[in-house]
Symmetry: C2
DNA sequence: GTGAAAGCGCTAACAG
DNA sequence: CTGTTAGCGCTTTCAC
C-alpha cells in the first residue's frame, strides 16, 4: 500500500525540469512554455500527482476554506440551507469545513476556535449565537463572519436574515382576517432570538387589535413539540387560531388538532406557520405559512463571501405569506 | 485589515523561549518543563495564538480531514446521515470537509480528486458511485474510502450498507400477509443501485408467491414523484398494494391514493415504504415501513474510520419492519 | 529539558 | 521563459 502522495519534486525530476516549472504549470496565471507545460502534465499524470493545497495555503494565505457551523443539521430548514450553501461554495471554488454543534444550546465558541486553527477564510453560522469575544477575534484575525437569521447589535459583522417581524405581522393579519378571537402563539423551548422576534411581533399586533393571545413554549424545535402544544392548548375550546413560529411546530400542532383534539382545520381553528419547509406543501397538510426564501438567503451569504469588501452589514430578506388551506 | 494570524515565533519571542518550546507546549506528548509551559501559554493567550493546523499537517501527514461527498443533502434520509456523521467525526477529533455533488447523477470523481488535494485522510461517500479508477487511486494513496449503501464488487473498499434485499423481502411478506393480489413497486427515475436491489428482491419474492407486480419508475427521489406514481398507477382499480423503495415516494403515493384517487389506506390498498424517515411517523401518515438504522450505519462508518486497519470490508446493517397503519 | 537546524510541499522574488 | 533561492508555520531530530 503506497503511503505518501507524489510531490512536485518527483514530477519535476521525471519531466526533467525544475520544481518551479511544475508549480507554474499548476498556477493559473503563470508563464510557462507550451513544451514545458506538456512535459510536466505528462509526468504528473503518469505519477498521479496532485497539488497539496495545504502546502499551497502556507504561502498564499487564502485557504479557500469556509467554516460552516450549525446545529440540527437534519431539520428540514437547516438542511435546506446547508444544501444550497454547500453547492454555492463549491461553485465559487471554496471548500466547506462543516462543524456540527450537535445541539443548539451548545456553545459554538470552541468550534469557531477550531476553524481559526484551520485558517478558515470565513465562517458561516447557521444556528447558535457566537459570544462577543469570538466575534471580536474574527475581526482581529481578518476572518469574515456571516450570521444567518441572527441579529447582533453590532455593525462590524455580516448578518443575513429573514424579515421575521414582518412575517409575524403577516401571520397576525391573516389570523385577524380569519376573525380569530383567541389565538395561541407557540415557540419551542429553545427560544432562539428569531423565534422570540416572531412571537413578539405577532403578539404585539394581535393585542393591538384586541385579540386574546396565549403563549406556549416547550420542547425542542420539532414536530413532536408541536403535537404537545396542540394537545395542551386545545383543551381550551375558545382557541380558534394559532401561529407556530416554525413549520415543524405547526405541522405537529395541526396533526394534534385534527387527529387528537377533534378540531376541523381551518373551520374550527386557523393555523399559520413560518419557514415554508417542503412538508408544509404536502397534500395532507397544505399549511398556510410565512415563507422564507432559502434561495435568497443563500445568495446573500454567497455574495457576502465573494465580495472583497462587504459594504452591507445587515441584509434583510423579504418574506411572503403562502396561502394554502389551514387558515379560514 | 486582513490581519495575519499570530505565529509561534512571535509567541516564542514574547515568552522568551525558542520556537521549539512553543511547538512542544502544543504537542500532546512532548516534554516541556512546567515553567516554560506556563510562560508559553501565557504569551499565547495574550497574543491570541492558535496553531496553524495546515502547517502542522505538512509534517505530520495526518490531516484529520475527512472528506464527505453526497448529493441531495436536504433529503430527510441523507441529511440525517450527515447530521449523525458530522457529530461523530467531531467527537473523534476529525474535521469534515463537505462536498455537495449537487445532483446524484453528477460524477463525483472530480470531487474526490479535490479531496485528494486537501490530503483528506478518508473519504465517505453518502451517495453516488465512484468510478473504479478513483477507487484505485484512493488505495494507491492510502486514502480510506467508505461507501454508504453502495455495493461495489471489490474487496478492497469499505462498504456499509443496509440489508436491502432482506428489507424488500420483509415488505413483500407483509403485503402477502395483507392478501394483496396485484401490487406496484415504485422506484424513482434515478434508479440507484440500492433502489434496484430493493425492487428486484421484492419482485422476485412476490412473483414466487404468484402475486402480480407492476413496476413504476420516474422522476427524482421525491414526494412529488410518489404522488405521480400514485396518480398513474391507481387508475388501475385492481392494484391493492404498493411497495415504494423510499419513504419519500411512499408518502407521496399515500397522499395521492387517499386525497386524489379516492382510496382508503389500508383497506383498499396497503402501502409499505423503506427508510423510516421522521415524517413516516407523523400522525397524518403512520407509514408502515422498513427501517434502516441510521444510528447503526453511522456507527459502522465511524468505527471504520477510527480503526487503523479495517478488518471488515463489507458490513451489512440489519433492517426491521416498522408496523404502523398503512398495511392491512 | 532545551535550542539550533533541517525539513514538510509549495509559491514567489530574483537573476539570468 | 526558466532555474535558483528564500521563505510560509510548524515539527522533529540532534546535540548540548
Amino acid at each position: 500500500m503506497a503511503r505518501t502522495f507524489v510531490t512536485a519534486e518527483e514530477v519535476a525530476k521525471r519531466a526533467g525540469v525544475s520544481r518551479s516549472a511544475v508549480s507554474r504549470t499548476f498556477t493559473p496565471g503563470a508563464s510557462v512554455s507550451k513544451t514545458v507545460r506538456r512535459k510536466v502534465l505528462k509526468a504528473a499524470r503518469e505519477l498521479g500527482y496532485r497539488v497539496n493545497r495545504l502546502a499551497q495555503v502556507l504561502n498564499n494565505d487564502r485557504s479557500n476554506l469556509i467554516g460552516v457551523v450549525g446545529a440540527n443539521l437534519s431539520s428540514p430548514f437547516i438542511s435546506k440551507q446547508l444544501d444550497l450553501l454547500s453547492i454555492g461554495l463549491l461553485r465559487q471554488g471554496k471548500q466547506c469545513l462543516l462543524l456540527n454543534a450537535a445541539d443548539a444550546r451548545q456553545d459554538i465558541a470552541p468550534l469557531i476556535e477550531l476553524l481559526f486553527e484551520f485558517r478558515a477564510q470565513a465562517i458561516v453560522v447557521l444556528s447558535g449565537e457566537p459570544p462577543a469575544s469570538i466575534v471580536d477575534e474574527c475581526i482581529a484575525n481578518g476572518v469574515r463572519l456571516i450570521l444567518i437569521n441572527q441579529r447582533l447589535d453590532r455593525t462590524d459583522t455580516n448578518m443575513v436574515l429573514s424579515d421575521d417581524s414582518h412575517g409575524a405581522d403577516l401571520a397576525a393579519l391573516r389570523l385577524i382576517e380569519s376573525r380569530c378571537k383567541k389565538v395561541a402563539v407557540v415557540t419551542s423551548g429553545s427560544q432562539t432570538p428569531a423565534q422570540l422576534r416572531r412571537a413578539k411581533a405577532f403578539t404585539q399586533r394581535m393585542q393591538a387589535e384586541g385579540v386574546d393571545v396565549v403563549a406556549w413554549s416547550g420542547g425542542p424545535t420539532s414536530y413532536e413539540s408541536g403535537v404537545q402544544a396542540g394537545r395542551e392548548l386545545l383543551v381550551d375550546k375558545a382557541i380558534d387560531g394559532a401561529f407556530c413560529v416554525t413549520d415543524l411546530l405547526a405541522l405537529g400542532f395541526l396533526d394534534a388538532a385534527r387527529l387528537e383534539m377533534n378540531r376541523r382545520v381551518p373551520q374550527d381553528v386557523s393555523i399559520v406557520g413560518f419557514d415554508d419547509i417542503p412538508q408544509a406543501g404536502w397534500k395532507s397538510y397544505g399549511l398556510t405559512t410565512v415563507a422564507q426564501s432559502f434561495q435568497a438567503l443563500t445568495e446573500k451569504v454567497l455574495s457576502a463571501l465573494d465580495s472583497d469588501e462587504p459594504e452591507t452589514r445587515m441584509q434583510v430578506v423579504p418574506v411572503t405569506l403562502v396561502e394554502r388551506q389551514t387558515a379560514r
